[in-house]
Amino acid sequence: MDTILELQNISKSFDGKPIIKELNLEIYKNEFITLLGPSGCGKSTLLRIIGGFETPDTGRVLFDGKDITNLSPDKRRLHTVFQKYSLFPHYDVADNIAFGLKLKKKDKAYIEDKVQYALRLVNMEGFEHRKPNSLSGGQQQRVAIARAIVNEPEVLLLDEPLGALDLKLRQEMQRELMKIKKEVGITFIYVTHDQSEALTMSDRIIVMNQGIIQQMGDPKSIYDEPQNAFVADFIGESNIIDGIMLRDYLVQIQGVDIPCVDIGFKPNEKVDVVIRPEDLSIVEPGRGFTIGRVMEVIYQGAYYDIRVACGDFEWAIQSNNPAMPGSMVGLSILPENIQIMHKPRSSDEQIIEKN
């Protein structure tokens, strides 16, 4: 895969507070890459550095191998879609979309053509002469996307573009963004704090926290094999419990030995054990690896969200069948659904404990 953007050793602080710490990242041509993390993790700042709105304290940004670290935004071959749409309120939709092309002094017929193409692409035909403030949020964001794409950037930066929309519209726009991405075939760098959005759309997810990359990979590997407790907790709901890795293929949780598929830990190493709620099944007491009392059952439509207390730990379980609150149940797990992780070494990985 060809690299289009390369971030080398990027650091950035605001008022002495480090936001990004010595970050390295390669971004490939035509991939849909998502920077995912909680607010304050540095993802937006990183995007602003790529867009040229911030200068890193250290490090370089390479575009097609050329150093663009100190190039102003107007001279970069990439465009940004902002969270707040940021349309020009004094121009109508067509003039908004044509803004970049007019600056490039393209001829009228060409601009007209491109504007129509862009409007079709974002499903906004017929809105040419509307003013931005007469459009809904979703429509404004479509125009903002059209306004960026019409200039044929090689990379499109999207800074939580759907953050201000409600859930249903957001899901609809996610599908449309993927369609647009397929049609124009350029690199999308997408920033979001919404893990389901990231899992739905991305080719590759970069999970960030406290200015460093926690994990990168395709959505499935991020979800199935989180590398630390932060990622496990941030991506979907997880049960994270202390365990001891007695030896290869055997972990002890709450005094119970459970077979697993993980190897390569020191004997008796203290570890974090991660189990996804949907991987636990409720069985008769006595079967399964533990017994607990059903504390809460909440119907979620597609499944029941069940809490089971075992000692001082409360398990979260997603089940197709309800359980009787107050009853005693057993929990079972398949060995391959147990994730074993090293305990965090640095404070950077410990944000979940503060939450």
Partner: protein, 289 residues
């Protein structure tokens, strides 16, 4: 509180404006269209066309136009600088700008008189650094300095408010799409500042056109604005009919010129954010996020 009761809250101002705007206006109109003997005439109005009055009128127009233009040219660069300041320093700058307005208007003009007079502070400084003294006192330039000094804040503040309201994201979007600093100004900032510019022009142009005190004090009484002539008709000549006639003529002119300036504002209807979906007012995104 129902609608009727709520409207009662406006009654003090309503009574005030009847007593001190509507009735005086009727009185002035009556004076303007009658002779001293009380018969109907248009002569008081048409007197604006005679040589002395016309000269004063055109001179007033010139002063007002130049003053307005200078205020605009001074305001934009300043606003662009203040816009970028940190919020606390911004407040200080604005405070600094408004501070002189807390002092008496006449007092400030007298101070300018002392600065500009032939053996005043300005010439003292010029001579001290080896330059030739200037003969500004009682000239056209002195009046311009006076009106610009007095009315500048009224131009700057509305423009500043309009520009401060522009979202930083919108400006960044323009840069992102390839606009350099000048293009950002001409294509985004300036067009969006026009409502502020219009109110600035309205507040500066009209008073600088009709004022007479500035010309009295800084023009030395030699240069007459139309305001000075009207004032004299009321005070020295005691010809209220002529004074009223000239006032009405001036007022009509101001009405017409303002109609051109603010026409768009009245016509333009802002469809008040016809939002359909979702909560569209996200919090200002934290830059560090």
């Amino acid at each position: 509180m129902n609608r009727r009761n709520r409207e009662l809250l406006a009654s003090p101002y309503f009574i005030w404006s009847i007593g001190f705007t509507v009735i005086p206006l009727i009185v002035i109109l009556r004076y303007a269209f009658t002779t001293a003997g009380g018969t109907f005439t248009l002569e008081n109005i048409l007197a604006i066309g005679n040589a002395i009055n016309r000269k004063a009128f055109l001179f007033s127009l010139e002063i007002a136009l130049i003053c307005t233009l200078l205020c605009v040219l001074l305001a934009y660069p300043l606003v662009m600088v203040v816009r970028r300041l940190h919020i606390s320093r911004r407040a200080f700058m604005l405070f600094f700008l408004i501070l002189p307005m807390w002092m008496n208007f006449i007092l400030r003009l007298l101070a300018w008189q002392m600065i500009l007079s032939s053996n005043g502070i300005l010439n003292f400084i010029l001579q001290a650094i080896g330059l030739k003294p200037l003969d500004i006192a009682n000239t056209w330039a002195a009046i311009i300095i006076g009106v610009v000094y007095d009315y500048f804040p009224f131009m700057m503040l509305p423009i500043f408010n309009a520009i401060a309201d522009i979202e930083e994201d919108v400006i960044e979007a323009a840069k992102d799409l390839g606009a350099g600093p000048l293009t950002v100004f001409t294509k985004v900032i300036f067009p969006l500042s026009i409502p502020g510019l219009k109110s600035g022009i309205t507040i500066v142009f009209v008073p600088s056109m009709t004022s007479f005190v500035v010309a009295d004090i800084l023009g030395g009484g030699k240069l007459q604005l139309i305001g000075n002539i009207i004032e004299q008709e009321f005070t020295r000549s005691s010809n209220w009919n002529l004074g009223s006639g000239l006032s009405v003529a001036l007022m009509v002119f101001v009405f017409i010129s303002m109609a051109f300036t603010i026409k768009d504002d009245v016509v333009r209807e802002e469809p008040e954010l016809a939002r359909v979906e979702g909560s569209d007012k996200p919090d200002r995104r934290e830059r560090a996020a």
